[in-house]
Structures are given as structure tokens and as C-alpha cells.
Symmetry: none
Subunit: 224 residues, 2 copies
């Protein structure tokens, strides 16, 4: 019978699906509110709150209170490294799934992540925006570049942040293992994509299917 660092305690904190989803969401590097995390995890607010207090007690999260908002974030790089290690094993061991069907391919290409676009398309888009210096990537953070307002106004998107929620946020993509764009800007872009009918959402799935013409338009506007 062994003793030492209580590894089971830490692992079991990550071992609940709701908590695992929350932690994965926080891997983007930005702190999120309890409500946002409840959405990410797919549980009610009371349930999320309970989970969050457990994660706090376990030392995996930090809390920054700002008025009536409470921003939860990962406690540090060591915790992030642990999540990444677990994700690595899960990814290595997981693909026991029988042949990735077309749905999986579609999911990898483009899917909804809460309220914004994720997948290869989304990662390519963020790369391009950063390449054109419309957005500026600092370490793990993303900010608007000087030309951002003009650039997005042309497309018909207002980058003024009405809500308190950040305009830009990096969100880690599990299929590509790189960041894509979240935040109100990411949400606005997804809205536009669906509004212009460049793509439609697959029913009962997070996959986003672009029409041939829609893909062309998307690439012209965001990857051009």
C-alpha cells in the first residue's frame, strides 16, 4: 500500500465529464465565468458551481472576482501541462473508434464550439488574420490590430465590444491541437457564416457543412 502525493484525488477531479469539459475549456488560457463554464460543460448552474468549488478546493483553479462576475482560470502551467498529458493519452488510446466516418471528417473540418467556429477552417482563418496583422497574437492572448475595426467593418462586423465578454479569445482545438478564435468576434463570424448561408449546421451534431459556393465566399473573405 503506497502513500505520497494524492494522485487519485487530483485525477478524480479531472475524471468527471463535466469538470473535464470545464478544464478543457480553460486550456484556452483565458478565465471564464461560472455561467460560461456551465454551458461548456452542459450542466446547470448549480451543478457547475458545485464542480467549480471542488476544483478550487483541489487547487486546480484560481478565482478572480470582478464585481458580480467570478472568473475561473487554470491554477498554472503545471496544471495545464497535466491536462495536456492526459489529453495526449486519451487521444492516443481513444482512436479505437471504428474508422472515422464522414461525420468525423466534417467535424474535424468545421464545427461549432459553443458559439464560434472550430476545426481546420477556423484554425486556418485565425492564422490568416494573424498573418495579415488584423489580429495580434501575444503568447496565448489575442488582441485586435490597428486595422481590425476597418477590416471587419468592411465585412459587416462591428468589433465594438458591447458585452463584458472579451472580443477575442484563443480556444484550443482538439482536432488540430492549435488555437482558433473565440470571444464575441468569433461568435459574430459564425453568425455571419450561418446568416449568409455559406454553411448549415448538421442536425444533432456540432458539424458545420459548407456549401461549395459558401466555402468559396468564406475563403475569399477570410482567407483572401
Amino acid at each position: 500500500m503506497r502513500e505520497g502525493p494524492d494522485i487519485a484525488r487530483i485525477a478524480s477531479l479531472v475524471g468527471d465529464p463535466a469538470r473535464a469539459n470545464m478544464l478543457t475549456a480553460l486550456m484556452g488560457g483565458t478565465a471564464l465565468t461560472a455561467s460560461e463554464l456551465a454551458l461548456e460543460a452542459g450542466v446547470s448552474l448549480p451543478t457547475a458551481s458545485s464542480h467549480l468549488s471542488k476544483l478550487m478546493e483541489g487547487g486546480l483553479l484560481t478565482l478572480a472576482s470582478q464585481g458580480r462576475h467570478r472568473y475561473y482560470g487554470l491554477a498554472g502551467p503545471q496544471v495545464a501541462g497535466m491536462i495536456e498529458a492526459i489529453t495526449g493519452v486519451a487521444a492516443a488510446v481513444g482512436p479505437q473508434r471504428v474508422r472515422p466516418g464522414p461525420r468525423d471528417a466534417a467535424m474535424r473540418a468545421a464545427r461549432v464550439c459553443y458559439d464560434h467556429l472550430a476545426g481546420e477552417q477556423a484554425v486556418a482563418m485565425l492564422d490568416r488574420l494573424v498573418g495579415k496583422k488584423v489580429l495580434i497574437r501575444d503568447d496565448k492572448e489575442i488582441r485586435l490590430g490597428p486595422s481590425a475595426a476597418a477590416h471587419f467593418a468592411e465585412i459587416g462586423i462591428d468589433v465594438e465590444s458591447k458585452a463584458r465578454r472579451p472580443v477575442c479569445r484563443a480556444c484550443l482545438d482538439w482536432s488540430v491541437r492549435r488555437s482558433h478564435l473565440a470571444g464575441t468576434l468569433g461568435a459574430a463570424i459564425l453568425d455571419k457564416i450561418l446568416l449568409e448561408k455559406w454553411a448549415r449546421r448538421e442536425k444533432d451534431s456540432r458539424a458545420v457543412i459548407f456549401s461549395p459556393m459558401g466555402k468559396q465566399a468564406f475563403e475569399t473573405v477570410f482567407l483572401g
Copy 2:
């Protein structure tokens, strides 16, 4: 709501105390039988068997049947790395135990991590090898330098990689929070240390105790 690699599934496997004890025991690097693991975990044989089949199904263990004995071992370095990462977090946030005992000091100084050396000694060694440009550290990756083959041949270690496993790999050290050397080269070095009797393994522990002379020899060869 997120999807992707099922991290909760993997984490919950580690999240049970009995299973966590088994995995920790297997971090020593040697495969153990079901009965031995039942003892380590402090559970009955049927319970242990049930846990082991779950760990097998989760892909965390390998099984080698030899007659009526069934030897369970960690599935690979990636799994070992994950356990180390979790241990690191647990040690960092853990209930700062009243005064670290001598055993803990020994563990911090040098211990076995699956099949290679970890602890302060191992971190110092990697630093020195990188300093001498025998190894080259790129971001998170470690490669052989031009002089590596000659350098290790002198010591009696062949750096030719026969297996598919990488020769060098960085492994995060929970006690020092820095990387040490894993991979086939790391394993070969541990082999040499034990073969030359520079150090012995503490019974029922992962600690590696250097003799005064052995430490001297080790430092001459690897830190000189």
C-alpha cells in the same frame, strides 16, 4: 459542450485510489502480477482483477502472460509521463505534509520514472548535457547533438535507436518542475547506473540511492 479525446474517461481510471496505487507501483518500471498489485493497492484479489481489466480496456496497461502468471505493466512512456504530470500537480497542491521525511528527500534527489532516472540528479544531468551541446534542446523537444554518438560511445552507451521509440524525450519532473531525460537514451543511462552499482534501488520504493563512490563516478561521467 465539448467533445474530443475522452479525457474524463482516462482521468477517472486514474482517479480511483486502488487503481492509482497500482499505477504508481508500476511507475517503478517492472511489470507486476495481479496478486502483487492487489497487495500494493490494498484490495482483495477479485477487486484488483476488476480494476486491472478496466485499466487494460482503457489502454493504460499491457499484459504479458507467462504460464499462470499474468504480468501487468504500463502501456508506454506516454502513460508514464501522464502519471508523472498528475503526481507533480498532486505534490504541488497537496497537503504540504508535515516535514518531508528522509525518504522524500531521497525521492526528490533521484528516483526511477518508469524506465529512466528522475529527480534533481537527472535534471542536473540533462542541463549539463545540453550545456555541453551533446544534446540539443529545441523548445520542448530534445535531439542528439553532432558529438552525441562519440560522447556516449565513450561511456559505453550506443545511441542507435533500434526501436520505434524516440531516443530522447523530455519528461517533466514533478519535484523540480523542470525536464529530465527520457527515451531509450534515458533508459540506457539508468541501466548503466544500476549495472555499475553506482546506486541501488530502495526496496518497495522508486527512490534510487547513490553510494558515495557511485555518486562521484556518476558526476565525473555525466556532470564533468
